[in-house]
């Protein structure tokens, strides 16, 4: 077994980590930093929602270059899958619990998990909530828009997000009247979605709100009503002119702060939560991104980079990642209506992020109640009876890969969950019957309660 301290980054010299040309260059395995099962699992935890054993073995054989390509551009026919799920989701949008349940079902079944990671990233970025919108069908439409644009161009995504009735309603911007520009909406647009806090002034907010006037929600659609647009001169980010919404977005995208904010958020989501990257690392990637706002290229650069593979276990799983990862690893399935509500209890209520800032994430996911709560959820998912049914069975997974004998099945699960990367005493205790339970279901529950399982 590899020493845990050697995985990913540790043989990289610290000065390399701050050198953008090394940090963002594609990772090429060598004797110092070999490609391994641990790094393959890392790639799948971040780029997907965790891997099953077959995916791990293929990724190990493929090497990082091909493994990343397969994640980004899967061979499976993704479009018909998503079209079918779009229809299921829409049909279930009459009830508030149908839409999150269908999203979770999609997360469990999708052949293109990286697209769902990005969709979740955008839901956390454009963090609007059904608690305010109170219309599941609109929320469903909003999420489908995020998915369609998740790996497209950010400028197009931003503009179409502002056309979503759910977004306008959540911002309190249902009616952007000439006489009453919507300051809260303009502030959210600048602070949360583009420039970031501290990158604009209060007069900029007023200018932005005035540029946005004329946009209304009526009959569940966004409309532009020219006579409600304030066509006077506005001051905005050091410029002056008769700006409208299109100009506003152009000016926001021109500011280097916008691309930098997105690169920083993407870094925290995909690379590491434990350190915030120095400006010198962010700037070159942001500058390249700002050329055309191509999200697929940006994500590909990140996922291939040396830095990405240095972020091993530097992130805490969200409740969704915790549960979906467990189910995907074991290649089973569970009921998702109940799952959506249990995940809400654990702090991640899909379609209802706490505030416009999204979920705080990181160490905020974990507290004295959430750890036993997660353990209890894993226990119920694996129980083989009860609310989650019987279609998640670690013994069946192990025997699918020829590991039916009790000892072999345990070794298999430890490899599948941790690729053997546990403290040596822990690993020995687990494999030598450190657990009182005879059942592989109980053993799986124990593995999902270990501190390392909460790390992405």
């Amino acid at each position: 077994m590899q020493e845990p301290a050697q995985i990913g980054s540790r043989k990289a010299r610290p000065e390399d980590l701050d050198d953008p040309s090394w940090a963002w260059a594609p990772y090429r395995p060598d004797g110092q930093r070999p490609w391994s099962l641990e790094l393959a699992a890392h790639l799948y935890r971040r780029g997907a929602f965790g891997a099953n054993w077959g995916e791990l073995e293929h990724a190990l054989a493929d090497g990082p270059e091909l493994a990343v390509s397969k994640l980004l551009r899967p061979k499976a026919d993704v479009a018909p899958f998503n079209r079918a799920y779009d229809a299921y989701e829409k049909a279930a949008a009459g009830s508030a619990d149908g839409v999150p349940a269908w999203w979770l079902r999609r997360l469990l079944e999708t052949p293109h998990p990286v697209l769902e990671q990005m969709t979740l990233f955008w839901h956390n970025h454009f963090a609007i909530t059904n608690a305010r919108v109170k219309n599941p069908a609109m929320m469903c439409r909003y999420l489908q828009l995020l998915r369609r644009n998740a790996l497209g161009r950010f400028d197009a995504l931003l503009e179409s997000v502002l056309d979503e009735p759910a977004v306008l309603i959540c911002l309190g911007a249902r009616a952007n009247r000439k006489a009453r520009p919507c300051l809260d909406g303009a502030r959210a647009l600048m602070e949360q979605w583009t420039l970031g806090p501290g990158r604009f002034s209060e007069p900029d907010v007023q200018g932005a709100a005035r540029a946005w006037t004329g946009w209304f929600v009526s009959q569940d659609e966004a409309h532009y009503i020219p006579r409600e647009h304030d066509s006077g001169a506005k001051k905005l980010l050091g410029r002056e002119g008769d700006f409208d919404r299109k100009d506003l977005l152009r000016l926001l995208l021109e500011q280097p702060a916008t691309a930098q904010l997105l690169v920083r958020k993407l870094y925290r989501w995909f690379v590491s939560e434990t350190v915030s990257p120095p400006d010198a690392l962010v700037a070159p990637l942001a500058a390249d991104f700002a050329k055309d706002f191509d999200l697929a290229r940006l994500l590909e650069t990140v996922l291939r980079s040396n830095l990405f593979f240095c972020g091993y276990r530097q992130k805490i799983k969200s409740p969704v990642q915790f549960a979906v990862g467990l189910v995907r690893a074991l290649e089973g399935t569970v009921g998702t209506v109940r799952l959506a509500s249990d995940l809400a209890d654990l702090g991640q209520d899909l379609f209802q992020p706490p505030t416009l800032k999204g979920w705080a994430g990181g160490q905020c996911w974990i507290n004295r109640f959430m750890l036993p709560g997660r353990a209890k959820l894993a226990e119920e998912l694996l129980a083989g009876s009860g609310p989650y049914g019987a279609k998640l069975d670690p013994a069946a997974t192990a025997s699918k890969y020829g590991q039916s004998a009790p000892g072999a099945a345990r070794r298999f699960l430890v490899q599948l969950f941790f690729q053997g990367d546990l403290p040596e005493e822990t690993r020995q205790a687990l494999l030598n019957g450190g657990s009182a339970s005879d059942s592989l279901r109980g053993f799986g529950g124990l593995l999902a309660a270990l501190p390392e399982w909460h790390l992405a």
Partner: protein, 417 residues
């Protein structure tokens, strides 16, 4: 400052728990923890908030039984001098609240009269939201007043949860945070896994980080420590529950609110670092206190549940020598109209009284009863802004900075001993 004392204790206890907990069985954890909890009278203060959903009729809760205007306007609902439980100054409690009268006489109940806010809303949802956000009329406010207090009380790297909700309804907006995750406790075993969870902290305990390079990933060790803290806390809670089970009903009456408060007492005894508990009476939504018709029986039953549950809770705290650590506070989104509506009920009003109960509290009536001749659309006017009550519990009891939580300075009431 209370926080400093707590941190001192945490550090002191934390060091010993590290040594004691990792190799041993949960039973032993529980006993050690109980021994520690027994000496814990000087720990942190705790606030229990009880929401009375639906708009409680303050005039039939604290009754101005000598006021002619009261009797004139309430021909069928009025409570006469013979029936009320007399306090002082011509005021009496509803006859179903004998248990609260006892607390009042012992000096453990303060009644803040005429609590409300300017231009108060009379729509259930909007008014409740005003009380929850503590920012009346600001409909885009994204967090609750207790949620903001909880976010500020959370510290990076620690796993204490400063606030929880107990009850079968969705968590109220007052607890809405930006960052912290506030547990909603629907049943007593909901957060206790049955299986092998406790083994996780033994198999993979916090280890020495002495050899780790500077700047190494702090998350694995954070999670090991959190897993150990959480399983130690769960073991303490189990031990407290087992002890409680041996004592049967423990003097708690058979009401849902009483059972909820019994759980609260167990959480306090298990010493999990929870500072704020939120519970509800009336059933959430447009709750049982919304007595537009046939008020007398329903209102009496709810007040009886409130009174007996709160009294049993305080009695239990006293037995466990925890009374001086706890304040309990009630609130409702509005009071009700002075006059009856012709259906033996009352309609949405404005000001109403707030109860505060507990140790370390100056009991008695606070402020005058609102006038029944100078009304606002048929309802008593407020004289004490509800945010002054919030400021009191934040500044004077919890030791939080009310200015940060409320965004404005409200002068606290003189209630703390």
């Amino acid at each position: 400052m209370q926080t400093t004392r707590r941190e001192f204790l945490r550090t002191a206890l934390g060091a010993s728990t590290m040594l004691a907990f990792s190799p041993v069985a949960p039973g032993f954890l529980g006993r050690t923890a109980l021994a520690a909890a027994a000496q814990s009278q000087d720990r942190d203060s705790v606030l229990v908030v009880i929401q009375l959903s639906g708009g409680n009729d303050g005039l039939n809760t604290v009754v101005p039984y000598e006021d002619d205007a009261y009797h004139r306007n309430r021909p069928t609902l009025r409570l006469t001098a013979e029936r009320v439980l007399k306090l002082e100054s011509g005021l009496g409690l509803h006859p179903e609240m004998t248990a609260l009268l006892r607390l009042y006489r012992e000096g453990h109940l303060a009644i803040v009269q005429g609590v409300g806010y300017p231009d108060s809303n009379r729509d259930h949802e909007a008014a409740m939201r005003d009380w929850h956000t503590a920012r009346p009329g600001e409909t885009l406010t994204q967090t609750g007043w207790l949620g903001r207090a909880i976010d500020r009380a959370c510290k990076t790297g620690q796993t204490d949860v400063p606030g929880v909700f107990l009850g079968p309804i969705p968590s109220p907006f007052g607890l809405q945070t930006e960052e912290a995750i506030v547990p909603a406790i629907k049943s007593s075993d909901q957060w206790l896994p049955a299986g092998e969870w406790a083994a996780a902290s033994r198999l993979d305990p916090p280890g020495s980080t002495a050899g780790a390079p500077a700047g190494a990933n702090p998350l694995p060790e954070f999670l090991r420590r959190a897993t150990l803290d959480a399983s130690a806390g769960a073991a303490r809670l189990q031990a407290v529950r087992q002890g409680a089970a041996a004592r049967g009903t423990d003097g708690y009456p058979d009401f849902p609110l009483a059972r909820t408060l019994q759980s609260v007492a167990q959480f306090i005894r298990a010493d999990l670092g929870i500072r704020i508990f939120f519970a509800e009476l009336g059933g959430g939504g447009i709750g049982g206190f919304d007595t537009h018709a046939g008020q007398a029986a329903n209102h009496g039953a709810l007040l009886r549940e409130l009174s007996e549950s709160v009294a049993a809770f305080l009695e239990g705290l006293r037995r466990d020598r925890l009374l001086d650590r706890v304040w309990l506070m009630t609130f409702s989104e509005f009071g009700r109209t002075l006059s009856e509506n012709g259906r033996h009920g009352t309609d949405h009003g404005a000001a109403s009284p707030v109860f505060l109960a507990g140790g370390g509290l100056k009991g008695g009536l606070v402020g005058p009863h609102p006038s029944l001749t100078d009304l606002e659309a048929n309802a008593p006017k407020f004289h004490t802004d509800f945010r002054r009550v919030y400021a009191t519990v934040l500044d004077r009891w919890l030791g939080f900075d009310s200015l940060q939580v409320l965004g404005r300075k409200f002068s606290p009431l003189d209630l703390a001993v």
